[in-house]
């Protein structure tokens, strides 16, 4: 067993875990934060994307012990109470999902994309930056649209730097 302390969505917790525990397992099974999904479990689909110390990572390919001491943000940590994060609101507004399974990862990637590339994103950039997120329903068109307007909304709301 190994002791791990993580700050997840603002809450610091310490647990003794098997070193094999993946970060996504820690989040879903130990913390019951089931918004982070496991799609492919092979580092390809991006459904498990979370932010670790402010950067998007695939939590299915990360040992929880290896990020001991880190600050984690999951999809559950984005909204402020009842108010959706601008990127979440944009996915709803522009219908950036069908079944919704990939959506948590898409949104976490999109917020990270804005951190790196700014709030004025063209379609080419968005599509390139979505390399690590797979959606099997939408054909991506509305996801790209949602990210474009979500990024713009983040700029207006001043959340891009958060």
């Amino acid at each position: 067993m190994a002791s791990v302390t993580l700050t997840v969505n603002g809450k610091t917790i310490t647990r003794d875990i098997d070193p094999r525990t993946l970060l996504v397992e820690f989040l879903r099974e130990h913390m019951r934060l089931t918004g982070t999904h496991v799609g492919c479990d092979t580092t390809q689909c991006g459904c498990c994307t979370v932010h670790v110390d402010g950067k998007a990572l695939k939590s299915c390919t990360l040992l929880a012990v290896a990020v001991d001491g880190s600050t984690i943000m999951t999809i559950e940590g984005l909204a402020k109470g009842e108010d959706l994060h601008p990127m979440q609101a944009a996915f709803r507004e522009y219908h950036g999902l069908q079944c919704g399974f990939c959506t948590p990862g898409m949104i976490m990637s999109a917020v990270d994309m804005v951190r790196r590339k700014g709030t004025d994103l063209d379609d080419k950039t968005i599509r390139e930056e979505l390399e690590g997120n797979i959606c099997r329903c939408t054909g991506y068109h509305n996801i790209v649209k949602a990210i474009h307007y979500g990024a713009e909304a983040m700029g207006k709301a001043g959340t891009a730097a958060e």
Binding site: A2, D18, P19, R20, L22, D41, T42, T43, G46, T49, K55, A56, L57, K58, T61, L62, L63, V65, A66, D68, S109, D112, M113, R116, E129, E131, G132, N133
Partner: protein, 263 residues
Amino acid sequence: MYPFTYHRPGSLADAVKLAGSDEAKIMAGGMTLLPTMKQRLAAPSDIVDLNGLDLAGIKVEGGKVTIGAMTRHADVAGNADLHKAIPALAELAGMIGDPMVRHRGTIGGSVSNNDPAADYPSACLALGATIVTSKREMAAEDFFTGLFETALEPGEIVTKFVFPVPEKANYQKFRNPASRYAIVGVFVAKFAAGVRVAVTGAGSSGVFRQFDFEEALSKIFSTQAIEGIKQSADGLNSDIHADAAYRAHLIGVMARRAVEAAR
């Protein structure tokens, strides 16, 4: 995943000691190791995590670029000094995997793994990098010894890379549309002393230099110089994505594109 004991050493000396045992595996970013362990293709008794060591960073000085082994692909891709010194190397790092993988994966891990379709080995070989480990310095030529094989001894850890700055260089990659690994990747680097060309993704024993291209390009650095040179399909990979003849053809195409784009 089979059980293992996890170590996060705080010094290189401790890491070397821990990594020296037969069944131990060194973990840098873990972007290849963890998927392999999840598939139970690897079952190390011990994981030696290098993330506690201070091995990251990029320094450009005196015609050389030094990159720490634990530098993430995203940090190589985004480094402004490197973009000025060897833009081809920064661009190569930006073509690896996807943004999330680039946030975690490291140059040291990629090169030590020596995947035959990995990008960095071609840059090391074409730029004539010196690979510095916990016990010695090696030329890239001596480092890559075969498919997933390197000259690293048990417990030996890559600490940094020293790249000479070329006059110009470029990397062209023909990606597998699904995995984004190189079906063929060609790195061309022009130095005052001559041109070096390294090919990844194609060779059945991993990365290799294309000496015929090098000779021709060293005389005249233009696409015409290598237009007529036939790349043999012997020793090239054949798989469902591309057969050896197609890969041979792509080597010429990628090399010409790299020459054209070199800066």
